[in-house]
């Protein structure tokens, strides 16, 4: 066993100081949600609408002030729209921290007035510091799980923030759900929620859980959590990276402000 004691001591701490300002979030080079620049968008063009695999981008009705509508709750970050856009109206970005309590804040709109946070405040004032999470995979591709498992690696070390995964729903404050909710997982998911004590929170993690993503609305799948459970935080991403999950959790605990307003990330 001396091998491991020595190795651990010699390697020292590997944990980032993020989200403190002097810390590294570890996501250098990572591509996030495409950014929309309506002033560059050409009116007769449908390239992005046609290529989007999840109908996150749709043609806007003729009376709107933009040509397209974007719902980032449906975006799987595939980047195809940024590749086909002829005018640079959709560009690659590093905007991956897309967790928000308001589903409507995932939809792009011109004005960014938002009531985000107010609804939250009333419900969860009692979870400010520590939080226990029960995770349920309701039909994911395992991409979300791969990133959730990374939360407890020494780099992110979720425990340092007072946030823990718990095996039993009886001890859980938050139900963290991935996947579009397949038919066989619907009942186990609802049973897990019922087994949790109140007050309880629900976080839709990954685009599948937010809207169904690429796998929703099939012969054996639903459209994510809406209509299944009350959702307190929506975190689209395919998959959301561990830093995005942490930021979402801290937004939920009101330890960080919600930054997504009108489909844009405030910086």
């Amino acid at each position: 066993m001396a091998t491991w004691t020595w190795l651990g001591l010699r390697l020292g701490s590997a944990t980032t100081r993020w989200p403190r300002p002097d810390g590294d979030d570890g996501q250098s080079g990572l591509l996030g949600m495409p950014r929309f620049h309506p002033q560059h968008c050409k009116s007769a063009c449908r390239e992005c609408v046609d290529v989007c695999p999840t109908a996150a981008i749709t043609q806007a009705p003729s009376d709107s002030d933009t040509n397209i509508l974007i719902d980032y709750g449906r975006c799987v970050v595939c980047q195809l729209c940024t590749e086909v856009c002829p005018s640079g109206a959709l560009s690659p970005s590093e905007d991956w921290a897309f967790g928000t309590p308001e589903r409507t804040d995932l939809q792009w709109r011109k004005a960014t007035d938002s009531a985000a946070g107010q609804r939250l405040k009333a419900r969860i004032a009692m979870f400010r510091r520590s939080l226990h999470i029960r995770h349920v995979d309701a039909g994911s591709c395992n991409g979300c799980e791969s990133e959730l498992q990374a939360l407890n690696n020494p780099f992110y070390n979720l425990h340092r923030l007072g946030i823990f995964f718990t095996p039993s729903p009886r001890f859980a404050d938050l139900l963290l759900v991935t996947g579009p909710v397949t038919a066989p997982m619907r009942e186990p998911l609802l049973n897990t929620y019922q087994a949790m004590p109140e007050p309880r929170l629900v976080m839709a993690t990954g685009t599948c859980a937010v809207s169904g993503g690429i796998s929703g609305d099939g012969y054996n799948t639903g459209r994510g959590l809406d209509g299944v459970l009350p959702v307190n935080l929506y975190l689209p991403g395919c998959p959301p990276n561990p830093a995005a999950v942490i930021e979402g959790l801290l937004v939920l605990l009101e330890r960080m402000p919600a930054r997504v307003k009108g489909g844009r990330l405030e910086r």
């Binding site: 066993m1 091998t3 491991w4 004691t5 190795l7 651990g8 590997a14 570890g26 996501q27 250098s28 080079g29 990572l30 591509l31 290529v51 695999p53 799987v76 970050v77 595939c78 980047q79 195809l80 590749e83 690659p92 995770h135 349920v136 995979d137 039909g139 994911s140 591709c141 395992n142 991409g143 799980e145 791969s146 990133e147 498992q149 990374a150 407890n152 690696n153 020494p154 780099f155 992110y156 995964f165 095996p167 996947g179 579009p180 397949t182 038919a183 066989p184 997982m185 009942e187 186990p188 993503g213 690429i214 796998s215 099939g218 012969y219 054996n220 799948t221 639903g222 395919c238 998959p239």
Partner: protein, 496 residues
């Protein structure tokens, strides 16, 4: 013609003889799938056979005229494929040894099989019903149903253990809680951009799935990717193997309660994923491949080489520490033994079969992408236990680092990145990849407009989940988690 495989139309009566001949000559069945072309009343069942290393794949195509004889008695690994074809396309297989639903749970009610072109586009009715369980009885025998919601952050599945004290008498996994019907979602799509779907079949196999899919579409359209694109495919595929195998080692250390070992394995995996993001913009290496080549150029510069080199050194040190730890090795030796014959018959693949003495690797035996000119060591172990599976993965990890670092100087910028591809009306193709978990196949069929009419996905975990229970029966509870970790299974790819 399901290019590049030699395709033979067979009468159902000739199927048994063809299978017997194949097996007698050292061949092995690989998979089977059904396809019902729109407007035609009948289903074609296709069987993929591998006559042997370096010999081209063969597809047998049989028209369903009411029922087809089951081949599961001759080649047991086909049992699951036949059950899946019954679930999804309604084909009946005569004398099947396990005539039970597989992919659709017993409570699924469909008026029409879901992969039938006539299927109405809405969700099936579903009611929760327990699966069929064998009658295991006797004094003190207990039944433990575990899942589908289990401890920790894991994928959903349910396991039934019949046990006495510590001793497991019988083990039955119930999978397909996560069946998303992904194969159906390809139907009617443009073959180029549907690669985004393939990348999302199994998150930690995004690269292998995209690669198998692209190669299948390219084969169907008679297109070859340019050389630089093929080399980049090798680079990205080996990066996928690196982070997956590092995850595997950390997980194995976790199940043997080696806490620092677990943390270090997870940290190395994290470092690999951060390297992935810097190179490709995606921690899971998504968004690089497209039929015809790659979507954009990658620039593995000197800094990239330095990162990979550092990761290789740290991995080396880590593996040596694991090897020096007797408490770790002791738990792996003789745990979950899979003998060679069972591995062959039940269809084990990837590191699992190579740890049971089967010397197969698609990268070497049926080269694709840029593997034809890649020197590759294929490690094989004979013991078939958890330690052998660990050794094979460690050796593969080393080999992947070697391949990556050797490949970089030869990445010529002379050729293009992407050949033009358009869906060929009526075209059919087969693609494959040796994913970190083993053999993965895609079969694609185009319709008359060159759009996707049918896509069959065979992921390695579909094969290895079928094999795994044979190592659990008559073992003990204390070894279960270690044994499961040593298989390195995923569920998303299996369930689809």
């Amino acid at each position: 013609m399901i290019a590049p495989a030699e395709t033979q139309s067979l009468d159902e009566a000739a199927l048994g003889t063809a299978c017997a001949d194949l097996l007698a000559n050292g061949g092995r069945m690989q998979m089977a799938w059904g396809y019902k072309p729109s407007g035609e009343g009948r289903v074609d069942v296709c069987y993929l056979a591998a006559p042997g290393p370096k010999r081209p794949f063969v597809v047998w195509r049989v028209r369903d005229e009411g029922s087809i004889p089951s081949l599961a008695q001759q080649s047991p690994l086909l049992g699951w494929y036949e059950r899946e074809i019954t679930d999804l396309l309604g084909v009946q297989f005569r004398d099947h040894p396990e005539p039970l639903p597989l992919v659709l749970h017993r409570g699924a009610r469909a008026t029409c099989p879901p992969l039938d072109p006539e299927f109405p586009g809405r969700a099936m009715d579903f009611e929760h019903v327990l699966p069929d369980l064998p009658a295991v009885s006797g004094a003190d025998v207990q039944l433990l149903p575990f899942g589908p919601v289990r401890a920790d952050v894991v994928e959903s599945a349910r396991f039934f253990f019949f046990y006495v004290g510590e001793h497991i008498l019988h083990y039955q996994p119930q999978l397909f809680f996560k069946h998303r019907g992904l194969e159906k979602r390809f139907e009617g799509r443009d073959p180029i951009h549907a690669v985004v779907l393939a990348e999302r079949v199994s998150g930690v196999g995004s690269v292998a799935h995209a690669l198998g899919y692209c190669e299948a579409v390219e084969a169907a359209c008679g297109v070859e990717a340019p050389q630089r694109a093929r080399r980049l495919r090798v680079l990205v595929a080996e990066l996928e193997r690196v982070y997956n195998h590092l995850h595997y080692l950390g997980h194995l250390a976790d199940t043997t309660t080696l806490k620092v070992g677990q943390a270090q394995g997870r940290l190395l995996e994290e470092q690999a994923k951060q390297i992935n993001a810097r190179l490709t913009g995606s921690r899971l290496l998504r968004g690089v491949f497209i039929p015809g080549g790659v979507r954009r150029d990658l620039d593995p510069d000197r800094e990239f080489i330095r990162w990979v080199g550092a990761l290789q050194r740290d991995t080396d040190r880590y593996v040596h520490a694991l090897e020096r730890t007797t408490s770790f090795r002791d738990r792996l030796h003789d745990a979950g033994v899979l003998d060679r014959q069972t591995a062959f018959d039940q269809g084990a693949t990837g590191p699992v079969e190579r740890a049971s003495g089967l010397d197969r690797d698609l990268r070497r035996d049926h080269p694709y992408a840029g593997y034809a000119d890649t020197e590759l060591q294929v490690p094989v172990q004979q013991a078939g236990d958890a330690y052998a599976r660990f050794r094979v993965r460690v050796a593969e990890l080393n080999a992947s680092f070697e391949v990556i670092l050797r490949l970089l100087p030869g990445l010529s910028r002379a050729s293009g990145l992407r050949a033009a591809v358009t869906g060929r009306p009526g075209g059919e193709g087969l693609g494959w990849a040796e994913s970190p978990r083993g053999a993965l196949y895609y079969a694609v069929h185009f319709d008359g407009q060159g759009r996707l009419a049918r896509v069959k996905i065979k992921s390695p975990s579909f094969s290895n989940w079928r094999v795994f229970p044979y190592t659990v029966h008559e073992s003990n509870m204390m070894d279960y988690a270690i044994n499961e970790a040593s298989f390195g299974l995923t569920i998303a790819g299996c369930d689809r």
